[in-house]
């Protein structure tokens, strides 16, 4: 039975007065993958399957040890763990995340925090990102498909042939084409775009269509275009 052990660090106060402490473990996948114990073929999901040994934390720097029950190895690489120390009331008094570190053997858990506790962790990427490119009018506009997923352009004159650059295979791209209050402006789709709907030329109208990019850099519609109003 492989054994994992670690040393809980970062506790800067004695815990003798918090009753009977407990530790909750949680396995967390890396890159959106589900943690899995290989060589057993069984999902792990949580550390409820880990047999804890010697979990008696009474002061800073206490060492505890756990055994992986029947599991030989954890994948994917980068799987990390959270350990939450709770007092006798079940209140969390410390929580930290740790990663596997195979430098001391593949079954050792390294309980060194992955970052300096005195330094705030880096900010998370925004969950809501703006992927709409507002393309300025020109007769030959450039649509940046490497950085945007949707393009909006207000036609104040004719577009005679733009260009789409940086197409990513498999991505969906949406074009939103507005006529100004004069209308009547011709829009010639970029050469990478195939089978697109004709752009409405009514004043203040809006034409939308979504395309998928193939590996040759072509854009094909996934459905009919729409006009508004």
């Amino acid at each position: 039975m492989p054994q994992v052990f670690g040393k809980l660090i970062g506790i800067d106060q004695a815990l003798t007065d918090i009753g009977v402490p407990t530790i909750d473990f949680q396995l967390c996948g890396y890159g959106g993958q589900t943690p899995r114990a290989i060589n057993q073929g069984a999902e792990v999901g949580s550390l409820a399957q880990i047999e804890r040994k010697g979990v008696r934390i009474t002061e800073a720097g206490s060492v505890f040890r756990v055994n992986l029950v029947g599991n030989d190895e954890i994948e994917p690489p980068g799987t990390y763990y959270t350990a939450t120390v709770r007092n006798g009331n079940g209140d969390a008094v410390q929580c930290n995340a740790y990663v596997f570190n195979d430098s001391h053997g593949e079954y050792d858990l390294d309980f060194t925090p992955p970052y300096d506790p005195s330094t705030p962790p880096p900010p998370l990427a925004a969950l809501i990102a703006d992927y709409l490119q507002h393309v300025a009018y020109s007769a030959n506009p450039e649509f940046d498909a490497a950085h945007y997923l949707a393009f909006q352009i207000v036609l104040t004159g004719p577009v005679l042939g733009g260009n789409v650059t940086g197409v990513v295979t498999g991505n969906l791209y949406t074009f939103i084409i507005n006529q100004d209050d004069v209308g009547g402006h011709l829009f010639v789709w970029p050469p990478q775009v195939h089978n697109a709907v004709p752009v409405n030329q009514d004043p203040n109208s809006l034409t939308q269509q979504t395309f998928v990019a193939d590996s040759d850099g072509n854009l094909y519609p996934i459905g009919a275009g729409t006009y508004y109003p």
């Binding site: 590996s215 072509n218 094909y220 519609p221 459905g223």
Partner: protein, 106 residues
């Protein structure tokens, strides 16, 4: 900025296994009939796109995987490109909207 993964298949493969764990976009190049197809690892709520190219001969048959519900016909015209969007739902791919056909490929 990669948001989606695209996997390419052609009819030299004895079996086309579309794996939703690997891609959300599947490009199929038909140089022959494709009758042995399957789909697995469908995530509910995920959008999947199929792009199916006919070769210059055309009239290649593409059998949609059993997990696909209500797809459009694949255009048999030579060099045509058919596109169909699906939404994953309870282990099946439900057609999201009518497919599109592109008769001319550059």
């Amino acid at each position: 900025m990669r948001q989606r993964q695209c996997a390419t298949f052609d009819t030299s493969m004895p079996r086309m296994l579309f794996d939703g764990n690997l891609a959300q976009c599947f490009m199929v190049k038909l140089g022959n009939h494709a009758r042995n197809t399957a789909m697995r690892n469908i995530s509910t709520g995920v959008l999947y796109i199929f792009i199916i190219h006919q070769d210059q001969t055309g009239n290649r048959f593409f059998k949609w995987p059993e997990q696909v519900a209500n797809p459009s016909w694949v255009d048999p015209a030579p060099s045509s490109v058919s596109v169909q969007a699906f939404i994953g739902l309870n282990g099946q791919l439900q057609a999201l909207m009518p497919g599109t056909w592109n008769e001319v490929q550059p």
